[in-house]
């Protein structure tokens, strides 16, 4: 999946990384439309050897209990994944992106980084999918320890609120794939969406907020606003960001 088939001219001559201007994509994609990309039938059908060839040399993954633990939903150009990859080198992580050209870019980017930094970036990968529809096809119950939703599409119109990636009903599915104690990170530069995401998480019985001390102690929290392309853009323009970080808890009986 990550073999480089890219036209050499799309790679930068100085860094060897793919150049973004060859991967222009629309800012939005309709999550409601029927999907035409392949989707694994179940989490057992996800071929780890394609995504993490160094960790899974053969396609027989029965012997290796290692599983993806971080999911960056709507990973965009993959900035967060690249930062997390070196911070947690032994943790498998995956980016999920709906726009095909953006996914292609991230694939090339990871490929180029693996080439120029032997032994590194082997734990990151990307997949083109509609995470709002197919999260349970990729992850087992309680498999994930962290989920990221950074600068999602705000969908301002009320009739499009059901397209938002954080919604009361979708949180049920995120709670299902997160282990007890797993953390969900959200950030946006749109105040209205920030409030929406916070209230969805606050009102959900399976999530509780992290304390200020816990946020302070978590190295990932700092990356939320700095690691991604979208976050850097907001910082350049001096914009404000709104963060909501919640933990998956055992339901009270």
């Amino acid at each position: 999946m990550l073999e480089s088939e890219a036209n050499p001219t799309t790679l930068s001559k100085s860094t060897g990384l793919p150049r973004k201007r060859f991967y222009r994509a629309r800012a939005h994609s309709n999550p409601l439309s029927d999907s035409h990309f392949p989707v694994p039938l179940s989490p057992r059908h996800v071929d780890y050897s394609l995504h993490y060839p160094q960790f899974f040399p053969s396609s027989d993954q029965m012997g290796n209990p290692k599983r993806i633990q971080f999911a960056d939903v709507g990973c965009g150009f993959g900035g967060l994944l690249i930062s997390l990859s070196t911070l947690y080198p032994e943790t498998l992580m995956i980016g999920m992106e709906l726009r095909d050209k953006v996914t292609e870019y991230v694939k090339e980017r990871i490929c180029a980084l693996r080439g120029t930094n032997p032994g590194q970036y082997q734990n990151v990968s990307v997949v083109r999918t509609n995470s709002m529809k197919f999260i349970p096809n990729y992850f087992e119950k309680g498999q994930l320890t962290k989920m990221f939703f950074l600068f999602p599409d705000p969908h301002f119109k009320e009739k499009n609120h059901r397209r938002r990636v954080i919604s009361p009903h979708l949180l049920d599915e995120y709670a299902y794939v997160l282990e007890i104690g797993g953390v969900i990170y959200t950030i946006t530069d749109v105040e209205e969406l920030g409030e929406w995401m916070k209230s969805c998480l606050e009102n959900h019985p399976l999530f509780e907020t992290l304390t200020e001390e816990e946020l302070e102690a978590d190295p990932v929290v700092k990356l939320l606003s700095t690691a991604t392309e979208e976050g850097q853009k907001v910082a350049r323009n001096g914009g404000q960001t709104f963060r909501a970080v919640y933990r998956r808890i055992q339901p009270s009986v």
Partner: protein, 431 residues
Amino acid sequence: MEDALNEGENNKELEVAPALIAVHPTQDSVAVAVGSDLRVFDLREGCGVHLTDDSVEPFHKNSIRAIRYGANGKYFVSAGDDKLVKIWSTNNWRCISSVCSEKRVSTVAISKDGLYVCFADKFGVVWVVDLHGIDGSEAPVNKKAAPLLAHYCSIITSLEFSPDGRFILSADRDFKIRVTVFPENPLDGAHEIQSFCLGHSEFVSCLAFICTVDYPQGFLLSGSGDSTVRLWEIDSGSLLHTCEVGHKAGHLGSNGSKEDCSAVIDLCTIPDHNIVAVATQSLQGIMILSCDLSSQSLNIAKVVSTGAENYIPTSFACSCSGELLWMITGVSKFRGSDYNSLARVRVLSGFNTSNANSAEQKVIVLGDNEVPGAEKLLHKLQGSVSVKEDVFVAAAEAVKTAMCNLLIKKQYSAERREFRKRTRNDKKTKQ
């Protein structure tokens, strides 16, 4: 194939609804829905039932898509394309509540304790209606539905409660079956997902539980557009066995030609027997599967012909005693026929014979005079006693087309997709 699908897209008139059948748990009555018409026959009195509906919008105005009796037989629910969910008391067949849905309703279920009605709409949201405080004696009560759970914008094809009432199961056209804990107070939503049953490679069309004395908690059965019936353990969502029914169906199909589309239409388990009745799109008759719960396997036992040619059931029903299997074939708003709608009821008997080996049981199709209620029942439920058999081929074809249009994802060729993309700005820069 592509042309056919596109045609269906443009021609909304092709949207026909299959005829449905439901039987009271103790076989007090039997109900049939054809189009917007709801017909009920009282089996104890041996006469047709007159329905009373004093609500603001009496009776259904559009195709009924789901009918269901509650497990205790007290209530009956009907719902469909007119976005109304009607709850009837089976005592006096009066509509005790008419609930408005925002979207068209695709399926309904009643909780095991009979206190909640759940229905699913075509946008993937499952709603719950609280029946506390309804006794059915007074005028229709205005009830509002609360959202329970949602599949992300996918048509929910089937809703089912687990035999112990702990879980609510929902199946969708995105190949998924979701098992959700049915909470103490469902009006606050059901947030805890127990498992997903994943493995089907096409839409899931129907769900049913199989329970025996040895396995009271039961196992789940699902039928799908991928021409399989699958056996699941719902606590973990693990697939126990897959039974291919398409091959058999195709083999025995109309003119021996193998059909590429033989989706499972409906399945029905015979209570306390390890038997499952299956209807598929290309099989004329009923396929009987035997289910061995100790070895957790599912096998085709035999195919029962209804005696009549061209009979492809659209819906099954069975009472708790498992004595008789009721089935119906038919469609609403069927064009090219003299009838406004078309329905044919048949009954299978012989599951309760003492022969222990289910596969060797003598299952027979009852003649029209042997059916409980005989001609009177057929007249009430079918609209007429005799139905010309030859229109059934076209009827089955109409049901199949409607089901495919609704549930199978449109396939476009690579060229056509490229053509549609040509106007996209982000693709232009490539040249």
